[in-house]
């Protein structure tokens, strides 16, 4: 029964239950406009509230005070509504909106998703769960303050030697002292960007694997780079990311339910947005 899983359906049912329950408790006092009946139910409520706050039941006097406060509150509430004091009050409006939304919100997340739900959510939102691509590389640094205008030429010369077969210890040592590591293992694009700057990060991700390349500029100077390994981004199995998928799934359900909820309510209204009044001002001129 698809209907029973529909949040709006739950909402309507729950709303009806609350309405009926509220009516049972307070029916008498709302029967006639000019009449306030303090039911035993209402008195019980006052008693419980007091006892919870003060850790003891109220005395006779206190109970009397509670009841007369309650009556005043009820009178004031009805008179205020009659005068329409609730209408332009931002706090009242927001609070009512909040209460209404809570109902929808609660229902949207009541049923726990099944593995099949999560699996299809994962497939439908691959972008949200893809692992980051990872890069392993070595780099040789050339300091612009030491090489000046010859920075790229000097780096390119070392690169030529690196590309010939054999051991390259002396070429690797030809780089300048540098506070970052010579080799980076499984670094993500975000980390790469934080460490070397955006320009370097995007340049290096386009390099072929398995050969020395460059020179590539960073915020520090120029680098020769050897990309040893590139692990592309992949979609993880549900088991690896179940908790995250579940959170995002529930969040999506919540938003979806809220959207539907408002859409359903909005069908009952004709909404018209008045055009701005700038033209009028223009005419006055």
């Amino acid at each position: 029964m698809k209907l029973f899983r529909e949040p709006l359906f739950h909402f309507l049912i729950l709303g009806a239950v609350i309405f009926v329950a509220h009516g049972l408790i307070t029916r008498h006092k709302t029967d006639k406009p000019g009449e306030i009946v303090v039911t035993q139910g209402a008195v019980e409520n006052l008693l419980t509230g007091f006892t919870r706050t003060w850790q003891r039941p109220p005395t006779e006097d206190e109970l009397h005070g509670l009841v007369s406060d309650y009556i005043r509150e009820e009178v004031a509430y009805r008179e205020a509504l009659a005068l329409g004091l609730d209408r332009d009050d931002m706090i009242v409006r927001r609070r009512l909106q909040q209460k209404l939304e809570f109902l929808s919100d609660d229902l949207a997340t009541r049923t726990q998703p099944s593995d099949a739900d999560l699996q299809s959510f994962l497939q439908a939102h691959k972008g949200m769960f893809q692992t980051e691509p990872l890069l392993s590389f070595r780099q040789i640094y050339f300091n612009p303050q030491l090489h000046g205008v010859n920075l790229h030429r000097d780096a390119a010369r070392v690169l030529d030697r690196l590309r010939t077969p054999g051991s390259h210890k002396s070429e690797i040592d030809a780089g300048d002292p540098f506070l970052l590591q010579e080799s980076f293992d499984h670094i993500s694009p975000a980390e790469l960007k934080n460490t070397f700057g955006e320009k370097f990060a995007s340049a290096i991700s386009a390099l072929p694997v398995g050969s020395w390349q460059g020179p590539i500029d960073s915020g520090y100077g120029a680098h020769l780079v050897y990309v040893a390994q590139y692990t592309p981004s992949r979609l993880p199995d549900l088991a690896e990311v179940r908790e995250q998928v579940r959170r995002d799934y529930l969040d999506a359900r919540r938003r979806e339910a809220m959207g539907k909820f408002y859409n359903t309510l909005l069908r009952r209204y004709n909404v018209r947005i008045e055009p701005p009044e700038e033209k009028k001002l223009g005419q006055v001129q």
Partner: protein
Amino acid sequence: MRSFKLTSSILALCFLVTMPLAAQEPAPPEQELQGVFAKKPPYSPYAGRHFPERVYWGDTHLHTSFSLDAGAAGCRLGPRDAYRFAKGQEVTASSGQRVRLARPLDFLVVADHSDGFGFFPLLFNGDPKIMTDPQGRRWYEMIQSGQGGAAAVDIATSFGKGAISKAILPVPGTVAYQGAWEEVIKAAEEANDPGRFTAFIGYEWTSLTGGNNLHRNIIFRDDGSKASLIEPYTTQKPLGSDNPRDLWKWMSGYEEKTGGHVLAIAHNGNLSNGRMFPIIESFTGKPIDREYAETRALRERLYEVTQIKGDGETHPFLSPNDEFANYERWDKGNLDLSEKKKPEMLEFEYARAALRNGLKLEQELGVNPYKFGMIGSTDAHTGLAAIDEDNFWGKISAYEPSPERATHPLIKTENATIMGWEQTASGYAGVWATDNTREALFDAMQRKEVYATTGPRMIVRFFGGWEFASGDANTRNPAVIGYDKGVPMGGDLTNAPSGKTPTFLVAALKDPIGANLDRIQVIKGWLDAKNETHEKVYDVVWSGDRKPDSKTGKLPPVGDTVDVPNATYTNTIGASELIKVWKDPDFDPAQRAFYYLRVLEIPTPRWTAYDAKYFGITMPPEVPMKGQERAYTSPIWYTPSAK
């Protein structure tokens, strides 16, 4: 709506600082153990390399709406939002503006005030218990009707006077308090992602007696299973205390009870009016004793030297010969400006002077209470650890970017006024750790392998030893030789080999997206034979071919490319990297000493310049529009061997 009618008392609450403290001796770093085994190097040059290869960036001191004062001043972001933002996600700030960091942080400590913890979310949500209290209801209604600023003032003032109704202020042991602490723990547990992002559990202990800032941030090495066994320590009697000695006892109690570890980091000595680094304890009026020194040295191994409420390295009054001493100074009074500053207070407020007095106290007591490393953090009360000059989100939510924020008073009393423009867009903590986990970062903090920056993420290495030679600065990876021949920042040199002088490998690499470097300086402090302390600033390595003045010995300024109206600069001056081996030319093996680095960037636009450009406003002439951002490392100490 923003309200600028915030009184000093609110601000006072905002500005809690803490000192780190050490739980217990960390395990010896790997490199110390290496000497035990055979010396032949392994075939792979990378095998056995266990030293920290990268620095992790974070903020150890961020407030959210869970802090009484932050909530009152308009902060609506909670701990979860704070962690999300630190991870690099875009959020909506309390002022309704969208905000994001240029680069994510690697770690964050949400450190909300333990006094009144979680009060504000309760109040804001109209918690039934608060609503039954006349005072609580009044504040609720004020906030709901848009008088949040006035409510904030009233709340803060009442808190300062201890006049908040006991029935509504959550104190340890109440359900509300436990609930707030659980929320904090939950937020950290959810955000913690070992290897990628560390979310520490923490809080701030906010001792503010007489408006004098003695705050400490408490950071847990442990997860929620241990942290939830206790509740944060407060300052309000009888459950809490405003005396740091009682906080240290609480810390020991936690460790004994749970087997966990906590540290404490003090901050804003500049607002303590002579009480942060005492020689005479303000609580007893007596000279500090060995027990104080020992416990403080154990518990408070780091100091937060720079943050939004000013830079605390040193002061021109204390360091008259240091032309860079007058940096982002807050020296008008104590935290709530209830008492004006007197020059004689300064010596007990600033880090450099405290490091000096520490040498003296060590001579007298046998223990140095002020043997601390240095970090920076924000102390922002916005849930936003955003202190880049071009992305500065202010001290409190009411001072998020707006055309008015610079020219409105931030704190105002009959004694003095601190204007919005005096906020310092600073700082972050750099931590040399082996991994991005609670354990690895915490242990690095305990061994003081950390440094402070005023915001830029420059990489700084500092090693001390007896054998560094000038060629060591030319090796491709200076860290390898640094750890091999010496100790890193935060370490100790002792037992000077006969005839040897301490040598230091100093190196800094610019922020990859930031400004070039001007110079690296060594700051030395020492204790002479007459038991008097001294300090000296050495320019060690600098950009370009500048020559120190032959008379004064001072290096000429690096220059200035700042275009204030456009809030830009160019890296046409300065250097991207500076490395050198430096030997102390004035070493006396009989004298205690410390050495730390100060790394200066070239001048760049201050946040006020970015504000002026964005909002198209003219700042008053007294507003500084540029500055030289900097880093301070933890010191390396030299201690003569006992005779």
